[in-house]
């Protein structure tokens, strides 16, 4: 199923796309479905599209959960 991993927006490329950092991997995504995204924001990405914006606290909480999951998976 679909996990909601937050991606940090590194830079805006065109009005409707951006380069994001997803757990250390850089990826270009579309911003066609979300308004007003700025550099430094966190977004939820699905198949190359930002679905929604997250506030930084929420994003950090979620990233901590996924880090825990990744550690457990590696253990």
């Amino acid at each position: 199923m679909c996990l909601a991993i937050p991606a940090r927006v590194e830079r805006l490329v065109e009005p409707e796309s951006a380069v994001v950092d997803m757990g250390g991997v850089r990826k270009e995504i579309s911003l066609a479905l979300v308004d007003g995204v700025r550099e430094g924001d966190y977004v939820i990405v699905h198949v190359g599209y930002a679905l929604s914006r997250l506030d930084p606290e929420e994003a950090e909480g979620t990233l901590r959960l996924f880090a825990e999951l990744a550690r457990e998976g590696a253990a």
Partner: protein, 385 residues
């Protein structure tokens, strides 16, 4: 951090037809491990942080499961608000398929601005419902203020102008393949243009003898809940009497006259699945008795709860065991696990693909993947037998 998962499809092609499709899943089934040891409330709060695409449905399923495990029964106002939340999410998903994904696959114009506007409006409805709080409380008054959200003039106008090309109630009168062909040939709108191509042979494949998940059948759900509890790995590879099933819009609408006619003539083809999704979108917008967005809960044993939600992609199940006020076990069975089972509807339906070159294999397989709509990203390779 490769925890987000995805599907890797490998089509084995003999130069004329696809012999088989091997499906490898890197889906993060064990994300629900994180919920162990939490209080039921913490678990319900954590679920939307973990699952993105159908976050509302996931949250509602978690809520239903934990309530059932504690012997609580939500009142009608809460259930009503949850159905509206899930309905708004399903409408967003269906509009994405019909305004963007299918047009792109068929070489037509994707309607991104329309989709963005629809998502914004439906997002506002959801935000109002969430802020109202009725969905979480077992009591409370009905969410009448937000009621027009999923229905309402905006979505009806969007469907009439850009999706169907005719008024939704008129579309709902279409009862057979001939009527569908008349509409698709005459209307100038996204779903009509796509449907015309699918009727013209492009959607006439993907059939399989795979059966369907039943709709709101408590006895059957109880048996699945038992399997989820006793068979390790069951949620990763679900089966019923040893066989996988197909879940989703088609499974839910087999009795609707149009879908029944298409199914009788061309089975569970790409076309039939496409039409089933349009049927459900029209029902959602018209506020009719509907199949998508149905939900409920069962308590298979004391301290154990199963929450079920009919989401855009099919049946979603959350099963929880609570002991001493904490989550002891938590399991999620997502619709993609049924449809993309190694021997499921995608794998079996793909054997109907006839193609003279690898590009055509890719194109056809993409149609079938889209018709079954996985909830994770996917990639494919074609190799020679």
């Amino acid at each position: 951090m490769a925890v987000e998962g995805g599907l890797a499809l490998r089509a084995v092609w003999d130069g004329r037809a696809v012999q088989r499709v091997e499906i490898r899943s890197g889906r993060p089934l064990e994300a629900s491990r994180l919920l162990r040891g939490m209080t039921p409330q913490q678990a319900v709060d954590t679920v939307p942080m973990l699952f993105s695409l159908c976050g509302r449905a996931q949250t509602v399923a978690a809520l239903l499961a934990t309530e059932a495990a504690r012997g609580e029964t939500p009142g009608e106002p809460a259930l009503h608000a949850r159905k509206l939340l899930v309905g708004a999410e399903i409408a967003q998903e269906y509009l994405w398929r019909l305004l963007v994904d299918w047009p792109e696959l068929l070489g037509q114009q994707a309607q991104w601005p329309l989709l963005a506007e629809a998502r914004r409006r439906l997002g506002e409805v959801s935000a109002r419902l969430l802020a109202g709080g009725e969905w979480k409380r077992a009591d409370g008054s009905p969410p009448s203020a937000a009621e027009p959200g999923v229905r309402g003039g905006y979505l009806e106008a969007l469907l009439e102008r850009h999706v169907l090309g005719i008024a939704p109630p008129a579309w709902a009168e279409i009862a057979d393949r001939a009527g569908l062909a008349r509409w698709a040939g005459g209307a100038d709108a996204a779903a009509a243009r796509c449907c015309a191509r699918l009727l013209d042979g492009e959607g006439d494949f993907g059939r399989s003898p795979v059966g369907f998940t039943p709709l709101a059948d408590e006895e059957w759900l109880m048996m699945i809940a038992v399997e989820m509890g006793k068979t390790p790995g069951y949620p990763a590879r679900p089966a019923w009497r040893g066989r996988p099933l197909e879940t989703g819009a088609l499974a839910r609408t087999l009795r609707v006259p149009l879908v029944a006619d298409l199914h009788a003539r061309s089975g569970n083809s790409v076309l039939t699945r496409f039409a089933a999704r349009v049927v459900e979108l029209v029902s959602l917008v018209a506020g009719r008795e509907r199949s998508a967005g149905r939900l409920g809960a069962l308590a298979p044993a004391p301290g154990c709860g199963l929450g079920w939600v009919e989401t855009a992609r099919g049946l979603l199940l959350h099963r929880v065991e609570i002991e001493g006020g904490r989550v002891l076990r938590y399991a999620v069975l997502a619709p993609t696990e049924w449809n993309f089972h190694p021997d499921g509807a995608l794998a079996q339906g793909a054997r109907e693909i006839r193609a003279g070159d690898p590009g055509e294999v890719r194109r056809r397989l993409s149609f079938l993947v889209q018709a079954l709509d996985p909830c994770v990203s996917w990639e494919m390779e074609v190799c020679r037998a």
